[in-house]
Subunit: 723 residues, 2 copies
Amino acid sequence: MEKKKGRVTLPSEENFLTETKELMERWGADAIRDSDGTKLDDSIKQLDAKIYTTYFVARGHNEFAQKHMEECQQLYLMSMFNTAVTETLEIDFMKGYFTEQLKPDYVHDPKKYWEVIDRTTGKVVDIHQWEVNEDKNSILITDAIPWHEYTVSFLVYAIWDPTQMYNHITNNWGDKAHDIPFDVRQPHSNEYMKSYLTQWLQENPDTDVVRFTTLFYHFTLVFNHLGKEKFVDWFGYGASVSVAAMDAFEQEKGYRLRPEDIVDQGYYNTSFRIPTKAFIDYMDFIQKFVAEEAKKLVGIVHESGKEAMMFLGDNWIGTEPYGKYFENIGFDAVVGSVGGGATLRMIADIPHVRYTEGRFLPYFFPDTFYEGNNPVIEANENWLTARRAILRNPVDRIGYGGYLSLAYKFPEFVAYIEKVTDEFRNIYDTIKGIKPYTGIKVAILNSWGKVRTWQTHMVAHALWYKQIYSYLGVLESLSGAAVDVTFISFDDVIRDGVPKDVDVIINAGDAGTAFSGGEKWADEKLITTIRAWIYNGGGFIGIGEPTAYHHQGHYFQLAEALGVDKELGFSLSTDKYFTTALEKHFISTDSTSFDFGEGMKNIYSLSEDTEIIEYSNGEIHLSSHDFGKGRGVYIAGLPYSEENTRLLMRALFYAAHKEGEFLKWHASNVYCEVHAYPLIQKMAIVNNSLNEQTTLVYDGQGNSQKVTLAPSEIQWRDFSNES
Amino acid sequence: MEKKKGRVTLPSEENFLTETKELMERWGADAIRDSDGTKLDDSIKQLDAKIYTTYFVARGHNEFAQKHMEECQQLYLMSMFNTAVTETLEIDFMKGYFTEQLKPDYVHDPKKYWEVIDRTTGKVVDIHQWEVNEDKNSILITDAIPWHEYTVSFLVYAIWDPTQMYNHITNNWGDKAHDIPFDVRQPHSNEYMKSYLTQWLQENPDTDVVRFTTLFYHFTLVFNHLGKEKFVDWFGYGASVSVAAMDAFEQEKGYRLRPEDIVDQGYYNTSFRIPTKAFIDYMDFIQKFVAEEAKKLVGIVHESGKEAMMFLGDNWIGTEPYGKYFENIGFDAVVGSVGGGATLRMIADIPHVRYTEGRFLPYFFPDTFYEGNNPVIEANENWLTARRAILRNPVDRIGYGGYLSLAYKFPEFVAYIEKVTDEFRNIYDTIKGIKPYTGIKVAILNSWGKVRTWQTHMVAHALWYKQIYSYLGVLESLSGAAVDVTFISFDDVIRDGVPKDVDVIINAGDAGTAFSGGEKWADEKLITTIRAWIYNGGGFIGIGEPTAYHHQGHYFQLAEALGVDKELGFSLSTDKYFTTALEKHFISTDSTSFDFGEGMKNIYSLSEDTEIIEYSNGEIHLSSHDFGKGRGVYIAGLPYSEENTRLLMRALFYAAHKEGEFLKWHASNVYCEVHAYPLIQKMAIVNNSLNEQTTLVYDGQGNSQKVTLAPSEIQWRDFSNES
């Protein structure tokens, strides 16, 4: 069989032509990119490959930026909490912040743009009761109420780009200049970004693809006084704020934002916060602006005959690919980093682009590519989790980043990637555009809905946090499972009801967060819509503290549907008789043990009608309950694992009353999965593990046969739809 | 040494005269009582002992009660939650209730006294939109809003006394008549209780002490349709409710209670609920009434030349011994069951009585006294925990209950109790009325304050619940420790500030409960008073979720004083750098391991100023933080154990900045304690364990000597105050 080529992007670097050609050949690469810290030789640029060139819009132009420091980006920050001990309170509002990154804005009148808040009462302190001391970066409150706590919300200029700052500090770049981020909402910056791009395109004739890294506003990343990360929110709009933005917002939306609308008690509207109307409006305002301006840049790129690609990260704020303005920008492609199945789907499912590209791990950096380490292991694990998702909806290209010369020193790794790239092309060529069989349609219900598609419960991109892994597992499991997944918001349901084709709704998260919903569940329209929908046959899976909001005798507002609630102490006097798990249950049929991650305390059954599937330590962690024609399933937590993926799949089919269809296109062994493509009468049987596996494989009629798969193997089988 | 006698009460029974005399002699008993199910012979009544006779006021008089069924006691109950599927909803409101105990009250107009509540909105349904069907015990709502949930709050008559019901069902008493509880607020009942008592006193000339078991209203105990416990609240006012009470309340307080004020979303105002003003008023109203009526009964008893003793349990509602009306009743004595140190102090500290008596465990019942079991073990454990408390403040008498003939069959037990009674008398005679040395004064701060002295976090008397044991340990530890303990409420602090002599405040409980405080912590006066008090040198110990109420950027409203807060997900974006416990700390000096019971998740340090003492599983469980001249200590939970008692003591001394005084009257071994009585220049060194212990014993100057104590031993030493 002739070796296929294409759909693979290689990083390269200076003085590495011969090896680049060799690896291009072996991996079938048809595009070459530069990376942070690498440049491409002219000779490489002449190879038979598309050339991607990294492009920064709003930083890396200090010669311009230094002339227009008044156009630096801005942020609203909150000081620490300060307790008034007397009626005079001095607040060192920059305490804990990194002065190399952030500089108080004294250009605009603090009395107009800042707020001093009494955090004991929540009231704003009258501007006549405080004064700024610019020399000391302090505020003196003269009429403080003793023993109240106060904070200052203040504007700063961001004088150092956070990504460059991170690299600069981490790699000890010494006196290398600090990239100054400028705000394209400002007149000179706006003009400059366009004229410079035009000039740059002329100066870079070999570039085929302008890889924007990214656009205007970095996700919020603020460092502390020790030069270490203090606050990181991959979704954070912090750096999009400015006096100009606040003024333009008022113009556009008809009301003025308060600093508190941005500062948000110090939480800065992270995606765990139930968004306020003001913040939703602000996001819309920024997204619209970013799309309008980005569209101009993309237009310039297209005029030059090149493609415009967006990197999903760094300065991506306002570009939300699942938001309503993204289509208008007109990007040709999006590229993003793949940390597993969910992040792959986050890229692959993006609409309105011609193609998507996943940058796979490991990055070719010395932290992985050092003597004695075997980078194949990480690559293999990354590939197996991503492959599940690719089999549902493939990205159009895969690629790598870093120093190619480093990877080249690991021949086993080179050989492994050769195998991966071949396998990827084979999958892609077989199934691209072919809808795989799905047994269930799932809606993830939270405050965000579509705009955060495959992006729930994330803090910093793909990093582990104790408080999120028990929920992230849900997305990871679904990303490669035979289900359709849609993301809907509470407001969607209030406005339009539950989409007709949804079988199961999942609500997962800690109480009070945007993912669980908090006070939203006291909304009469929301609760009655969902309740009616379940009663009439819908499936509802609650994970962690679903629908949690203490109101009128219940904590879980859907307690009567779920059959369980959480004991807060108020109902300890009511006897809890239902404490015995069933010996067998459809949902736990394949479970050898349970892992609920952080789990959840004090969940109890409301009545004998609740099917308790797991009960330990005096509480329920897994249960189901019939509600009318529908069902409510409760799961205490669901970190990602093969067993938990199976448990979730069974829970979905059970909640949807589709148990009878569970053994269609199914593998009995939890480490294996079947992906069927009826349109082309092919199925892929995959081994998601690093060990050999034997499994029963069920076809669409429920007939099974035994199959043995080598470690990581994928086997393709043809089938007849009539058989 | 001549054997001392007295201060001990023995149960006896029919045909047991000789053995009773023998045990009276050996145990030094000077009083004899009947028990549930036992009666005393005339011959026993003639012994040289006070005779206690159990007396029921409001039950056990069916010949009267059956003639006045309209004077039965009443309760407000809530139906289950019912989901409206159409605009018509029929609610079987008695579903789940025990019809042998409870009967709907159709005598009084349901339209006037019942409420149908839309639990989705919290609104009361108009009385024209529902009808009662008396034959079916159902309510038909005719204008229900589909998919809303509804409950009915309805009045019932209680036709079976709960304690008798429990014994009746448990012991299969078959067709024995059901004791009907009547309400002394009603005219015939009120007249009857007095006339019958007068007659009874004449008929029982041998009775010296009328042991009221108890008065008018049983704590709430409701059974389910299977005849099993459905709801139990040892503090519950459920059975004190009636149409007459509701009407009298309006008369007295000037406003009318709603059924919802009693039903409380189905929580029935348990002591975990932050009490509403209406419920506080209602408690006051009932307590006042109970005291007035009880005073009449006590007067009748006194006129007959006998004593009136109250049993702290069963029908004790409204008598709260730490409440403001208890003194008026004029009881001579209170007797209560001793489950450990805290329950002993609950009895021993009761003011306004001439003497208190503790009924010790085990009860002489077949569940403990059966062949092959050694009742000495339970007796010994019970004695050791109670003895700690007795050494702080002794009850005046101890006693036992049940079948004396059973105990008599266990000679080792008889010998052990002989030893215990001797030891009790010796302690009592030595220290009664002598204030022991205390190093610290502690205030337990919650919604209840004084009225629930030694009664926090309890559901059913002395029963274990998963949700309470991590807090109950605090009281148990304090009950026998060298500290003064006072109980103060949030309203006390708001009104009067923190009492002058308090060194440390403890706030312990789950968020939102009356013990933690919930929304009370948003009260400006409360928070500023406590904050100022700590800053000026006070110690504050928070256990579990202290001061928890999400408001203005903090969950723990005293986060800035405690140095820790709980991560709710909102501040995940803020880096948490402080994750390393100190190698040594004053508080953990004697800890070999930690047991925080249920513990607490996601507690983090706010800054480097927090002294982390224990950190595991990604969270803090023990820490301290300086705040001004004061300190805030955080503990995740504190089940009772010798090690945790020591940890709490160290935390108290540390919080109070009194570390220098810790080694005064102190035992180095955690299983031992020192109780010093400077006024009489004596100290008791006790071994609280069942094993031999060696310890350093420190005197008041911090000088130490090594002492070895036999299992359970108590050693008395004289000392000179000048030494």
